[in-house]
């Protein structure tokens, strides 16, 4: 007996070690449904490896910053100009989207829907990966000490990234959406078909549970549906890359993620969401234009001084304005225009910014413009916008269709409409997260 054990000692030990591991694996598989406890070996391994990664990332970032911020500044001016142009375009876009969002809020209030808001996020840096092509995992440099917990959504500005899988004191493990054990509730933006976003073994992302008789087009955007209780509804997921026939009456929809999952540097972890029912109060907030209109009648209380047009709350009217030819116009013609909805003065959209589809170059000559249709009464008359107009004196604002120039001190004030009865066109949301 002893000779047999001695002879096959290596083999017996091999079988024993394999048996132990298979046993451990079986226990984990059996408990995987409910067990979320972190294995001690996992804590040890992560605690050993991630400090090295953190140091390396820190050094790498420091070197990169030194290079980019001090030595390599070529093209910054051009980039700055492009970014400014982009800001102008995005202002217009924001105005339109705000209107849409407010409209959606009104409708949700009517239907007593509940909305989820992203209240708080924590920025984190990606410091490592699982190193395995079968496990799409990232490590970020924020953990339990920073308020992170399991199943928190991880996103970037481009779209969703994944969810927090394991949390350690100063590090967290993020399961990417292209891991095959990942699942995200998703909805197609146009057709409103709902499916489940899953990862595949080779790192692709597919949208499952779409019936084969449904019409799905390549290029259609996909958003989170909110059904997984992890990702807030409406976050970008990606676009449909390819649609093919799948098995068991389901379509095979391959998805191109909105975020480049293999080149992630910084991410945001959604640490706090709020679910609340939309109230009518949200939809009838007073518009900046109405506030402005309410203030105007109070101006005559004090006798106007010769250049009292500058007393108007709207900044842009202070300075001389110029038309396209650059000719100075008198100050008595402020660039305040009458809002077609409220009948009160409001500012015109900054004319230097073209309408999204008019093809006017942003850096081109000053042009007269009217308020884009999408931004009429959209509440973009906030103070920041007014400041923006004041800083762009090279143009003259042209009133919108029915609007007429207003001389605040000479014209009889028109009583403002109550906010609830004024034009229900929404305004830009300044405080509420979307």
């Amino acid at each position: 007996m002893e000779s047999v054990l001695g002879r096959y000692r290596n083999l017996i030990i091999l079988v024993g070690v394999l048996f132990l591991q298979v046993l451990g694996l079986a226990v984990q598989v059996k408990r995987s449904a409910d067990a979320e406890s972190t294995r001690l070996i996992r804590i040890w391994a992560v605690s050993t490896i991630t400090p090295l990664e953190r140091v390396l990332v820190w050094g790498q970032k420091g070197t990169g910053n030194l290079w980019h911020n001090y030595f390599y500044l070529r093209g910054v001016r051009a980039e700055n100009r492009e970014l400014k142009e982009q800001i102008e375009r995005m202002r217009l876009e924001q105005a339109r989207l705000s209107e849409d969002a407010a409209q959606a809020r009104r409708l949700q209030a009517l239907l007593a829907f509940k909305e989820q808001f992203v209240l708080k996020t924590v920025a984190a840096q990606v410091i490592g990966s699982s190193g395995s092509d079968s496990s799409r995992i990232l490590y970020i440099d924020k953990g339990e000490n920073d308020g992170l917990a399991r199943d928190m959504a991880v996103v970037t500005a481009d779209g969703i990234v994944g969810k927090v899988l394991q949390v350690f004191p100063s590090v967290s493990q993020v399961l990417l959406i292209n891991d095959q054990s990942s699942g995200v509730g998703a909805i197609l933006e146009k057709s409103r078909l709902q499916g489940v976003l899953k990862g595949t073994a080779n790192g692709e992302v597919v949208l499952e549970r779409l019936m084969s008789d449904e019409q799905v087009e390549a290029g259609e955007a996909i958003l989170t549906s909110g059904g997984d209780q992890i990702f807030p509804k409406g976050l970008p997921v990606g676009t449909v890359a390819h649609v093919g026939g799948g098995k068991e009456l389901f379509l095979n929809v391959r998805v191109r993620p909105a975020t480049n999952l293999s080149k992630l540097e910084e991410v945001l972890v959604v640490t706090q969401k709020q679910e609340r029912q939309v109230t009518a109060q949200d939809t009838v907030r007073m518009r900046a234009a109405d506030i402005l209109a309410q203030r105007l009648p109070s101006v005559p209380e004090k006798p106007a001084e010769p250049n009292a047009t500058s007393g108007s709350p709207a900044g842009p009217v202070n300075g001389p304005t110029r038309d396209v030819s650059g000719t100075a116009k008198p100050q008595s013609k402020p660039s305040i225009v009458r809002s077609p909805q409220s009948g009160f003065a409001t500012k015109a959209q900054n004319p230097s910014t073209p309408k999204p589809d008019d093809g006017v170059p942003l850096t081109g000559p000053a042009v007269e413009s009217s308020v884009p249709a999408g931004s009429q009464g959209s509440g973009i008359t906030d103070t920041s916008a007014a400041r923006h107009e004041a800083s762009a004196p090279s143009v003259v604002s042209k009133p919108v269709a029915e609007a007429k120039p207003v001389k605040p001190q000479t014209k009889a004030p028109v009583p403002p409409k109550p906010p609830a009865q004024s034009n229900p066109q929404p305004q830009a949301s300044e405080d509420g997260p979307h």
Binding site: R9, N10, I13, L14, V17, L18, Q21, V22, G24, L25, A26, Q28, V29, S32, R39, I41, R42, W44, A45, V46, T48, I49, L52, E53, L56, V126, G128, S129, S130, G131, S132, D133, S134, S135, R136, I137, L138, Y139, L165, Q166, Q173, L175, D179, Q180, S181, T200, A201, N202, S262, L264
Partner: protein, 177 residues
Amino acid sequence: MVHTSVPITYTSGEQLEVYRFSVPVTVGVPLLALFLQAFLPRHFPRLAYIDLPLLVTVYFAMARRNPISGLLTGAVIGLVQDSLGGHPIGLYGIAKTVVGFGASSLGVKLDVENAGARLLLTLGFYLLHGVVYFTVARGMVNMNLNWNWGWSVLAGLANAMLGVVLFWFLDKFKQRT
């Protein structure tokens, strides 16, 4: 014990040298391999196909020529690699245990000092590792994996070529018993 510089493909146990490594190398090299495996694919995603922990397992197992030591080395490295991933712990552990045992068993019988033998053996062990991992992952964990022979052989060749260079570098840390 006679050391011959002539490459041989099969020899008796007396002709083969058994090496050992210092504690810093024994601990540091696998840790470094695991660290690089976790860190590099973030910047170079294609490097995820390179399995540095596997190469280190094969190297230590072949150099020590002790099956028990080899399988334990493979088990520990594999389990730590599992810990860094999101799947159940044990998939890499089992695969690398088998590879460690096989590499050390072959190291007892074959001369694994020359580059050609190392290339072929590393390719073979890469494929063996893949087969064991695939089998366990599908059979026990019910993971949806696809086996592609062409891709596996190509990845194995890439690993084997890197292994030849890596083994040559690690040879400098060997200490004769």
